[in-house]
């Protein structure tokens, strides 16, 4: 069996599959093929598609190959699907990011980072199957753990979690300021800092005029 035939088989399999095919599985379904050969077949198909200006390409998502249209056709394809595209609020995206990087993570840990209640957002992510329950943390109260799903990878076109911007890049976002470093250690088990005054300090009776004055540029 020559390369052309194998390429044809790979193409047919990827087109016909209802979900992304992992390279190892693809290799198994093609006679006398190895994963690295299968990858080469896919690369060569993709090169064809570029040269022939096809409207699609083979993408590596969720650990497998899938045929996907180019984004430039999105406006036309939106007419095709009866379901509206999956919209995600900033709150959902933030929560999803925290889950993705810190997984498995508890709701409390997410709330610690975002500073707001994570319940409703988490629920909506669970409903959309972007996040799943991943057991319990074995600490008092046994809080539920959350992690991202395969669908999360599919939706965002990630081949795996490694495909997310690496944690090192994340670290780079942090300035080298010593305060930040110190602050890190301060958050760890320094209970003194948790003592908070009562929240009635907020003066709710400020009128708009007061605001205008107070808000004037200094």
């Amino acid at each position: 069996m020559d390369e052309t035939e194998k390429r044809g088989i790979a193409e047919a399999l990827i087109l016909a599959s209802m979900e992304p095919i992992p390279v190892a599985r693809l290799a198994k379904m093609i006679p006398r093929c190895t994963p690295s050969k299968a990858k080469a077949l896919v690369d060569s198909l993709n090169a064809d598609y570029v040269a022939q200006q096809r409207a699609f390409e083979i993408c590596e998502v969720a650990g497998g190959y899938q045929m996907r249209t180019h984004p430039e056709y999105k406006a036309y394809l939106a007419q095709l699907h009866k379901t509206r595209p999956l919209r995600l609020s900033n709150a959902a995206l933030e929560t999803l990011s925290i889950v993705a990087y810190r997984q498995p993570v508890t709701r409390g840990e997410v709330e610690q980072v975002r500073g707001v209640d994570a319940g409703p957002v988490m629920r909506s992510l669970l409903e959309r199957k972007l996040v799943k329950i991943a057991g319990h943390r074995e600490v008092p109260g046994r809080p539920m753990l959350y992690s991202t799903t395969k669908r999360f990878l599919e939706v965002f076109g990630l081949s795996d979690l490694e495909d997310l911007p690496t944690l090192r890049e994340l670290e780079d976002l942090k300035p080298s300021d010593p305060i930040a470093a110190e602050a890190e250690s301060a958050t760890e088990g320094d209970d003194d800092s948790v003592v908070m005054p009562e929240p009635q300090l907020v003066d709710a009776d400020v009128s708009l005029e007061d605001l205008e004055i107070a808000g004037k540029p200094h």
Partner: protein, 293 residues
């Protein structure tokens, strides 16, 4: 210089007036988000927040939220309290000293939280900008493949098929041994046959009906369908009957399932197979069966 907070507030208030039914607070994802916004418009460093100024603006913001009849959620109030606390700490001589003898900035914890939140905000943005399935890119749905041809496909058979097969077995027996009436003293109970059938099916995934009817398959795997002629005469009618009833009973209990292939025109043909239907691995059948009968 960024627009003063008062301008933003006025703008938002007028929005609120003009759109009485869709009052929407500019979307801040919580107190940390609001603080980051204020830090940005004030063009100050996260690591060196002028707490007094930022805190004041923060409170103004909460007031606007109330003016707009938006309930200020607890988290916002908690942050206001934190800011007030930090502000008061900064006025006092340093109380806390780190391990290295240096003062600990009362803002340190808040700064750390803001930085961390900011990191995730950026990642979230990046994630949101990616080409998203069913929004920007669309996948080939895959083909609804033809199912394998019927002869390869296992289908369920009805009880009728089972009874019919049984009748044929008995008929075959009459042919080979019309005169045999020597009843052996061998006691065959339905219970024994149920246990034997389960054992046989546990040893092999699928066993032919006729093989099971005659005798349990040895664990070593002999007795493969079609390998040898089954000697019905030596098996004896009581055993065949007991086996058949045992199969019916196991079927009723949904412990086993019965399959038969079909030919090209969809007519059931070929050998009938039995399989375990359920996870019986952790069950002691020999012990349970007497109860079942």
């Amino acid at each position: 210089m960024a627009a003063p907070v008062s301008d933003q507030i006025t703008e938002r208030l007028s929005e609120a007036v003009s759109l009485p039914y869709s009052v929407k607070l500019p979307v801040f994802e919580g107190p940390l988000d609001l603080l980051l916004h204020l830090i940005k418009v004030n063009e100050v460093e996260i690591t060196d927040i002028p707490v007094a100024r930022i805190g004041e603006q923060y409170l103004q913001y909460l007031t606007v939220m109330r003016e707009l009849n938006l309930d200020v959620v607890g988290e916002y109030l908690l942050m206001a309290a934190t800011l007030a606390w930090i502000k008061s700490r900064m006025l006092l001589p340093a109380e806390r000293v780190g391990e290295d003898g240096e003062e600990i900035d009362p803002r340190a914890e808040l700064v750390a939280r803001l930085l961390e939140y900011q990191r995730f905000k950026e990642v979230a943005q990046e994630l949101g900008d990616r080409n998203r399935l069913d929004r920007d890119v669309y996948a080939a749905p895959g083909l609804d493949l033809e199912t394998p041809s019927d002869s390869e496909r296992e289908i369920e058979v009805g009880l009728f098929d089972l009874v019919e097969a049984y009748r044929q077995v008995l008929e075959a027996k009459r042919d080979v041994a019309p005169e045999a009436h020597e009843i052996e003293a061998e006691e065959v109970t339905i219970r024994d046959r149920m246990v034997a059938i389960i054992d046989a099916l546990e040893a092999r995934a699928s066993v032919e009906f006729e093989v099971l009817l005659g005798d349990e398959v040895r664990k070593n795997g002999s007795g493969e369908a079609g390998e040898a002629e089954i000697d019905w005469q030596s098996i004896g009618r009581p055993k065949i009957v007991a086996s058949f009833i045992a199969m019916l009973e196991l079927t009723r209990l949904a412990a086993i399932r019965i399959y038969q292939s079909t030919d090209e025109i969809g007519f059931p043909s070929g050998p009938i197979h039995l399989r375990l239907a359920v996870d019986v691995g952790d069950r002691n059948w020999a012990k349970d069966l007497p109860e079942l009968m």
